[in-house]
Subunit: 200 residues, 2 copies
């Protein structure tokens, strides 16, 4: 990666981290309506400065100067996407795929707990990562999720591994766990042809 | 709702809408690293102003003065949560539950398409809404998702209805559709006891 691109990636990453803190503050703030309105005006000004000639559509997957695919805008792993925790995906020598991450107030469903849909979103991505290859994404064919109990907001871990492979189909299994143990189990079928299914 | 609470809700809603635009700009901006850094400093200042005495944990579900539950922080429907599209859930006389919403660049998985995990997250919520009752939430027991094809970023519609009810279990079915038709189908089992499962 050129120094210029590395500098841009670092600045993008830091901006996204700041916007994540702003999102959390927006959910948890207890300031009055006038203070909220003043904050809104300042944010609109910053958005205007960032919006000079934006990308016409979405970030997509761009290639770095070295040809490495960059999914900076991805909602789960994108370093410049403030909605992404972001997940950092690890691949073990034994085939285990895992990610340790923290979900705060902005990912809440019932009081104090992660929304069940967010649990499904994370598991779709982590199970899909068992089949995903750089430049050759795997698309989710089917996903089955079983909720054992509520997942507490805070430090979490998602794990997945390949159960079996049949042709273009990778059958993966995995789970989500909070500090007290496994909360959600998942099975997924991920497909390689690019003209099938939806993003894993 | 008192005028004071209505004013706070309106200011919170408008702030969240501004932060959503900021999130989109953060993903799609093409300004240089110096401009990104300048924007970050301004955002950090706003976050500081909003963070005077924040809620210690998450928003949870608070009661309005009229006793109406307010899930303002919910990641799918929370009016003050910038991650939420937010979904607005409609209940038809025929039992149909639907939501029309738009997902932009910040919800991307593969280029130009909604992340499969985001599709699952939305369907979990909309299917769960067939069983959900104010003050009596339904928790997801199991969720099955089948991806027919990629879901284009843009205007989307999610629909769900109750297939059958067995005791505390509501069996719901539904789908997600983009401008070209149905893209993802889902089945879910939602449970009422508050000590079971995870948020629907």
């Amino acid at each position: 990666m050129t120094d210029e691109l590395a500098t841009l990636e670092s600045a993008s990453r830091q901006l996204a981290e700041s916007v994540r803190r702003l999102i959390d503050a927006t959910v948890r703030t207890q300031v009055d309506a006038a203070t909220l309105a003043a904050a809104q005006a300042k944010i609109d000004a910053v958005t205007g400065e960032l919006s000079a000639a934006p990308m016409p559509d979405s970030f997509g997957v761009q290639e770095s100067d070295s040809g490495r695919p960059m999914a900076w805008g991805n909602v789960m792993i994108g370093v410049r996407n403030p909605i992404a925790p972001p997940l950092s995906i690890n691949h073990g020598a034994d085939g285990l795929v895992w990610s340790d991450f923290t979900l705060g107030a902005a990912y809440e469903g019932p009081p104090g707990h992660v929304h069940g849909g967010v649990c499904a979103m994370v598991l779709d991505h982590v199970l899909g990562a068992t089949a995903h290859q750089p430049g050759r994404p795997a698309y989710t064919g089917t996903l089955r999720i079983r909720y054992l109990r509520g997942t507490s907001l805070g430090a979490l871990r998602a794990e997945a591994r390949v159960d079996r492979v049949h042709g273009v189909k990778t059958f993966a299994i995995g789970h989500l766990a909070d500090a007290r143990g496994v909360t959600v189990e998942a099975e997924g079928v991920f497909i390689h042809p690019k003209d099938r299914g939806s993003p894993g």
